[in-house]
Subunit: 360 residues, 2 copies
């Protein structure tokens, strides 16, 4: 698969101009760009600039409002519900996370559920906003229904990711960022390109049989919850995905379960709309609302060093701490550049032509 | 395997007398009994009365304080840290959960991290305390190090369960209660008794190789994080177990990672003690801190009914909602009685003899 390297700065300049071209206010275009490209630099290529055309198509379909009036519609000292006014999730989510952080400054923790939003990129970007304040950050979102719960043929949930980020001292922060499925859609796309089959427990076919076909989703099949099948704990992955849905959409009044609006603008909207847009959930906990931050961070260093010192199994070089692979990727890509597939570059150039913006 | 049925009332009377005999104050003996037996009635036999002798042995080893001075050592409007004073987790946890609930009444949510405690039974009992207040409840705990993280031979985490309970309207509550491993230790014990091998992804041997031996833990092997191996997403189960450890122990000052004190009193304590006792974490979120409770519960009903109506795969009768199996078991066992294995009955009778309490 041929790729070409682009610098973070090149992609930033291009993406920002595209967001401005669809009418985003300057500050929001900058925020959306930073949130979107955080996926590319962290190596989650499926959620980065490759999705820019998807966001543009949602705007063309009038499902994304480029000038949203994002507002708090209900609150208590430690909670808020935010109406995203159909804005880009890339803009709504950082706004909501900041509200959670401000609440945490006041009363120790802040918890924000969001309705009427769109896809927010990677959960990690938003959760990690809390780190600079010596807070633990959490972010989750529901998503297009692609996942069949244990024993089900019907697709009832999205890949519904969860991120938890916790600050450390000398060590880099702990960042767990995971879809609640065995594998996310992006992993299937990689296997499709390589013409390889999927491991067991990733997908099932339209009749609910185990499958190894990475193209299964286009044939009516489904992604599987973390665990794969009942014998391997899929009821746990299903339960976690369900919790994300409840926190993100049932607490906020967004759409939930199979009624979550699909990301691809060409997929028809579900007939039923029990809520508004898609839902997110954010949390911020001030570490010193529990324990002096320096003590906590010293313990986190000790914890992290303990895991790094664990004995690796034969054939493995080392035991990783959640966040390690993405951080290493970020260091590499900020230095060497971000590799984009030819198909992605072509897609970006065609957006560029539409808006008179050059990818250079 | 021969079993004998006991009524909930019989086991309650016996267990309560044993807790009184080791010196628990009357109210605490009642609380501990209710928390412990909630496992038996919900079908989680490994965490119920079968563990009573284990708790007694911890008391004999002076690792459990029967008359703890449980107290808040730090707090903000939405958070608290509690020192369990080496009390039974079965008593410390309900105390801490009640603090979380009171905080939620005041400021919308309450979050409590606990140090210096012992094993608390099932997470579900504590999280479900929030339901009667129209709150979402959360409970988690760290535990004896039996789990090898992805790529590791060393056992660095416990089965670290998470429970999230959310109220519904006409439908019964949603209760997701799960260990962050593919299978918990209790499942291995069942296979041991049946002389059956474990499915893939449950355990590995002392060298880190995949194993199907349910006795593997006694031979230096380890339980595996939910997912089993990297290809099947075990780095996600590992990350979730790590989050439980951080919330429960790093925020509170309890022991963490491989330094968590083991449940069996005969297993020597780890050489290093970076904190105090084991750690728990509890959360309570008032539903109406986000949205009118009636609206939320109506949506929960719709959500639950949607999942129950999902098409089951061939060979499956229906799609379950988290909490269904345990609730069905509870209805059955409250009516028919609780089956105890001969070995468990023998164990209980020998405790009874020690304290002059009869199991009748």
């Amino acid at each position: 698969m041929s790729t070409q390297l682009f610098s973070y700065q090149q992609l930033t300049a291009f993406t920002q101009k595209v967001f401005l071209a669809i009418g985003c206010p300057e500050e929001q275009a900058a925020t959306a760009t930073k949130a979107l490209l955080s996926a590319d630099i962290r190596g989650i290529d499926s959620h980065g600039v490759a999705r820019l055309s998807g966001y543009v198509r949602l705007w063309e379909a009038k499902r994304v409002n480029a000038k949203p009036d994002i507002r708090i519609i209900h609150e208590t000292p430690s909670t808020a519900v935010i109406d995203g006014d159909s804005g880009l999730g890339l803009v709504v989510a950082p706004y909501a996370m900041q509200v959670a952080i401000e609440k945490a400054k006041q009363v120790g923790t802040g918890w924000v559920s969001v309705q009427n939003s769109n896809h927010f990129g990677i959960a990690g970007y938003h959760a990690m906003m809390a780190l600079q304040y010596d807070m633990i950050g959490m972010a989750m979102t529901n998503a297009s229904p692609l996942v069949a719960p244990t024993f089900s043929i019907d697709k009832m949930l999205g890949t519904n990711p969860i991120c938890v980020a916790a600050p450390a001292g000398k060590q880099p922060a702990f960042v767990a960022d995971l879809a609640t499925t065995t594998a996310a859609n992006g992993k299937l796309e990689i296997l499709q390109r390589k013409n390889q089959s999927t491991p067991s427990g990733w997908v099932q076919d339209a009749e609910g049989n185990p499958s190894h076909d990475p193209h299964e989703l286009k044939k009516g099949g489904a992604l599987l919850p973390l665990g794969g099948d009942k014998e391997h704990g899929s009821h746990k992955g299903y339960a976690l995905g369900a919790v994300v849905d409840i926190f993100s959409a049932l607490l906020s009044g967004a759409n939930y379960a199979p009624w979550v609006p699909p990301f691809p603008a060409y997929v028809p909207m579900p007939a039923q709309q029990p809520g508004k847009g898609i839902g997110h959930f954010f949390g911020a906990m001030r570490v010193d609302a529990f324990r002096p931050a320096e003590e906590f961070k010293k313990s986190m260093d000790h914890w992290i060093e303990g895991f790094r010192a664990a004995k690796p199994m034969p054939g493995q070089e080392k035991v990783l701490v959640p966040g390690d692979p993405e951080r290493e990727m970020e260091a590499e890509r900020m230095k060497e550049g971000i590799p984009l597939l030819e198909s992605v570059i072509k897609d970006l150039r065609s957006i560029g032509e539409k808006f008179g913006v050059e990818l250079k």
